[in-house]
Subunit: 404 residues, 2 copies
């Protein structure tokens, strides 16, 4: 199968989550992604979680299928090599490194007019920001968690980093499409904070206070404006249960045996439980009625009973339970990958399947593993050139250990 | 400026978050997106939050800049109209409607061989799943929130829906690029659960238990493997504070005046605080030392002092505070939008700026507002045809009220 980005080379000068995730996404769509790192590695090279060997599970996870070149980014000679990799390649670079004139759009377009340049930032004004600080500033931590809790609760998924990486991959792909048609390059700027604000706006979280003045309440595990709640089984398992439609709700009422109680409440409360708004307003009394059934049945009984209905539900799992579950080990999204320093594990490909296939990539490279081959293939450097650059400390194969 | 998807038409048969977000994203990249709804609206048409008029802030937020056609999707005549909009347009359709043979890839490729078809699903096997249930099954709720808490805590941002929408937009764009080059269409399948599993895998959450057996602990607002914590000021404001690098940490230690205390602890604990791992291991004692300074300074004093350092920090804000802040009202990402039924508000464009501009769109259409004009322009239907279809109940202008 021809992948959408087959034949396209992207240079990534990156660290942490967003830019590397952009790169792994483009790699899984077929691009050749060359991650350029300073000799010894960028600030994310040893980031937790670590395997027992000390190799970063995190770094290897976000750099699957890339090539790695280790280059002294402080030296003019090293900077020139990176510029050449970009402009003599396909003129595409993705970076979260800020403030480097030699890697800027302006500088690179002097060397090649149709460069596609994606600059990731913390905030649009160039000031710093990371997922945890951006998230604090937008509003989600004050509506996450138990209704009785007053302090902010952070998310653990770095959701803004992830979205930022996906927007960047979309920006690159869309710009290649435009360049194919118009010949124009692109100067793309993408701030992590703007990603969070845009999503918060698109979903209405930032619109609601502007137009109604309403302050979204903290709802625990309930769903705003819909019926959803978590329940505990007699053997201590937790379930998330959602009824979006009338049919879902009717099925939930029936399976839990509370139809007559719900019906009896309808008139005195003036509630129309066929309306999602009323299901939400009276969520606590409904949850109280449902809870008894959940508390008096085992996880297995609950699973069996709800599976026979349209009710949306899922048992809460730990990462370890999920990783051992068929949804990972028997899922064609995952392939066994032998990652040096980490071991063999189930690694995800692209969640979108194309023509039935989830495009996947091989393991992450060792840091600097491809320095020589990339410079030879891409820039035509001879082995003498490479030896000279290595001796000068401009490039390194591997992490920069002395050549043996 | 030529936008990347200028001149491309996408048909969206959608509801809820992921597919509509895909559409608004493509629209902001220049595509003409025709959202097709059943007469009267899909299941998301009245979803909360609502404006005082009853108009859904949510629906209008996710359908900005689209055209709306209301068509009876249960009638063969209506189904044929939608098929024609797809195949006589650019052959691109995005849908989360499942189980409709007439809208399937197989059926549409009989009518046009190079169709690009994005089918969103809850789970890859076709079974249902929504963000709240998928999230429960992956593992995040058991590591979110206070360390002393045992029950799962859901996220409030529907992160998987959002990522799914962005992957879908990327899938469409990448497939257009491939079709331009090879002539081939694409059959893209994208399950919400696979999105969550892929991200959980890429970031190492699902890898760690496979290769080390470690169970990620619940950390409250701390950051795994890094130093980060939340603090409260003397006047009750909450701050998220992050020190990723040695420089960040040194600055934080200095500004809070605990350098000698940190130094005194280093030897008895055998801790090297220049190492991120040790900063993480001893996070609680470090936070205890930092907390006194935060507790004894006002929010204004903290902001002023930390702003003079490299320390990453942000004050926690509510959605209402954020929406009124300069980061929204003075941010070129946002434009004033007059949304009928909702009012005037700051609406976000595309978080990525292209050549300095955040592509934006106008307001969402009223349901069915463009039915007649879309059918006339796209399929060449005459006003007689449209009157006949309206009388037959096959199409509607607006929500399906009788024609006046």
């Amino acid at each position: 199968m021809t992948l959408p980005l087959d034949g396209i080379t992207v240079v990534e000068v990156s660290s942490f989550v967003a830019a590397p995730l952009c790169g792994v996404t483009l790699a899984q769509l077929g691009a050749e992604v060359i991650r350029v790192d300073p000799i010894g590695g960028a600030a994310d090279y040893r980031r937790w979680p670590l395997a027992d060997s000390g190799t970063s599970i995190y770094w290897t996870g976000l750099n699957k299928g890339k090539r790695s070149a280790a280059i002294d980014l402080r030296s003019p000679a090293g900077q020139e090599l990176v510029q050449r990799l970009i402009v003599e390649g396909d003129g595409i670079v993705v970076t979260n490194a800020a403030g480097w004139d030699w890697l800027s759009h302006d500088r690179l377009t002097e060397l090649r007019s149709d460069v596609i340049h994606v600059q990731m930032l913390g905030r649009a004004d160039g000031s710093t920001g990371v997922d945890y600080t951006v998230n604090a500033a937008v509003g989600f931590p004050f509506v996450t968690g138990p209704a009785t809790f007053a302090a902010p609760i952070n998310h653990v998924l770095p959701a803004w980093d992830v979205c930022c990486g996906l927007y960047a991959a979309l920006g690159v792909t869309a710009s290649v499409l435009r360049r194919d048609s118009t010949g124009d390059g692109a100067r793309i700027s993408l701030a992590l904070e703007d990603v969070a604000l845009a999503i918060g706006g698109h979903l209405g979280f930032l619109t609601e206070p502007q137009v109604t003045g309403a302050l979204r309440p903290r709802l625990g595990n309930a769903i705003y404006g819909q019926y959803g709640h978590d329940f505990t089984s007699s053997d201590g398992a937790s379930f998330m249960v959602v009824a979006l439609t009338r049919r879902h709700f009717r099925d939930l009422v029936e399976v839990t045996g509370i139809a007559s109680a719900v019906s009896a409440l309808s008139e005195p409360l003036g509630a129309d439980f066929s309306d999602e708004g009323d299901r939400y307003r009276y969520r606590d009394v409904l949850s109280g009625l449902f809870a008894t059934w959940f508390n008096e049945h085992t996880a297995a009984e609950i699973t069996e009973a709800l599976s026979a209905t349209t009710v949306l539900f899922e048992r809460y799992r730990t990462f370890a339970e999920t990783a051992a579950d068929d949804r990972v080990v028997a899922n064609p999204l995952f392939t066994r990958l032998d990652q040096p320093g980490v071991g063999e594990y189930f690694a995800p490909g692209m969640p979108a399947s194309f023509d039935g296939v989830h495009p996947a990539t091989g393991p992450a490279p060792a840091l600097g593993e491809d320095t020589a081959v990339v410079l030879a293939e891409r820039l035509g450097l001879s082995s003498d050139d490479i030896a000279r650059l290595t001796d000068a400390g401009t490039i390194a194969e591997g992490r920069g250990e002395p050549r043996s």
